[in-house]
């Protein structure tokens, strides 16, 4: 089976330079690091919201970016799902419509809405179906955003600080939800956070970012053994790799 995502890119924005390379096989891989380290930029590059200056990206074995060969698949064609920090639901559509818009695998409106309803149920937001995004609480909004991200049967789910705008209590609750829903669907996921606890709890693999590069990587043993074992190979661009591999001995990447 091909890797969920393979990335080897360099990108520069103003003063900031990002150069990262990693491969994620399956499970939830967490990008963890301080703000300004390039985590979100990596997601934007994978999603096609930014085009890297150089390098390649492959999602599910399909090359979506290869600058040297002039390949640049549009965001729409990358078969990704995405959950943003503040949801970014369309304010003029109902919750159900928002999720139904993402169900790209079906063409009939009624079928799409049925699938959307099903996803809302799975994230515990079924009763919100007819509400407008503007009337939702932060936690409700992110539940819907999660449903929308998964509803399109993506090959890869990208979550950009999905819980950072929420209160602590809600954050715990949604953390569990994200873990369970993603485990149940088996969609390979990349999650970005600057919260260490969140990284430990959600990640099968934690990739640590320093300024513009990967500082290190480690996998996490979760108390109940989880079915899809994550495998990660990371080529870090820096020698600082060793200092940032604190917790459990894992299949450490060889650079």
């Amino acid at each position: 089976m091909s890797a969920a995502v393979e990335v080897d890119v360099a990108h520069r924005l103003g003063e900031f330079e990002l150069a990262v390379a990693f491969t994620v096989q399956s499970g939830i891989a967490v990008r963890f690091g301080p703000s300004g380290s390039g985590k979100s930029m990596t997601l934007a590059l994978i999603a096609g919201l930014l085009r890297p200056d150089s390098g390649t990206i492959a999602i599910g074995g399909r090359v979506v970016v290869d600058r040297s060969r002039g390949i640049d698949v549009s965001t729409q064609q990358r078969r990704i799902g995405m959950v943003f920090q503040d949801g970014l639901l369309l304010p003029h559509r109902t919750v159900l419509d928002n999720v139904a818009l993402a169900v790209r695998q079906l063409s009939k409106r009624r079928e799409r809405r049925a699938v959307a309803r099903d996803w809302l149920e799975r994230v515990g937001a079924a009763e919100l179906a007819d509400r407008r995004p503007g009337s939702l609480s932060g936690g409700q909004r992110q539940r819907v955003a999660l449903a929308r991200g998964l509803a399109g049967e993506p090959a890869l789910l990208l979550l950009d600080e999905p819980l950072s705008a929420l209160d602590l209590g809600v954050r715990r609750e949604l953390r569990a939800l994200i873990r369970d829903v993603i485990a149940a669907t088996g969609v390979p996921s990349l999650l970005v956070t600057h919260d260490a606890e969140e990284a430990q709890e959600l990640g099968d693999v934690v990739i640590e970012y320093a300024y513009g590069t990967i500082a290190g990587t480690h996998s996490v043993e979760h108390p109940p053994p989880r079915p899809p074992e994550a495998e990660v190979e990371v080529e870090a661009e820096t020698e600082s790799e060793t200092e940032a591999a604190p917790t459990p001995p894992a299949h450490e990447a060889d650079a």
Partner: protein, 280 residues
Amino acid sequence: MTEDPVTPSQEGSGSRMGARAASAIGRSRTVRFALIAAALVAGPLLGILLITKIGPAILWLESPDSGPFWLSLRVALIATALAGTAGLGAGYLLAKKRFPGRDLLEAIGSVPIILPPTVLGYYLLQLLGDGNFAGRALTRLIGRPIVFTVTGCVVAASIAAFPFCMRAARAAIEGVDPRLEQAARAMGLPAWRVALQVTVPLARRGIAAGVTLGGMRALGEYGATLMVGGNIPGSTRTMSLAVADARSTSETHTLVLILVCMALAALAVISRLGRSRRTA
């Protein structure tokens, strides 16, 4: 991270840096003012040049044919100064203060944009003419009649220019980062100094764009000027009136070209002011 990674920016970083350096030079204050001044002066002159070349142009400017041009220039300048000042005040009020009837004030202030100029002219005649008490009182107060004089033209042109100054000032002032004003207040500046030394300078581009457009509207005012000014040749016959009167004579042709060139120059200035606001 200071820069949002999700902003779509697909240019190479090298060219971005180059463009940034170039625009930094372009943004130096003297260069900018020189450009604006040059555009404003060069526009109309170029128009005259195109048809008459330099010698005849000077002759034209000294001949009675250019009467409407000089009159329009004078009327528009005074009107723009009046409308700009009033518009800045009204725009500031609309942007900063919450009071009942604010929507109505904005609507009334904007009305000359879509109100037929003849309606404006009708009411100005009613108000300023000597047919009623208010008109007679005003005439006595000022010491000379308003209707069918240059003063009447200025009044009409000011009203035409006002909404554009007001709306632009309002939008520009609303666009000022409130944290900068808060910082100034925290430093102990009194409210009026915050307004004059922080808010208005930060909003200056938008205000200038609005005043430029207002100036063009003042220059182009037709219906109300026709009714209140009286279209008296040599006295209250502005360029836009002259254009409407003597169609397809060579005199009209000259005036039309001047007006088109001035409009193009004004729009160029406005678009420059609007474009660099994003980077400033």
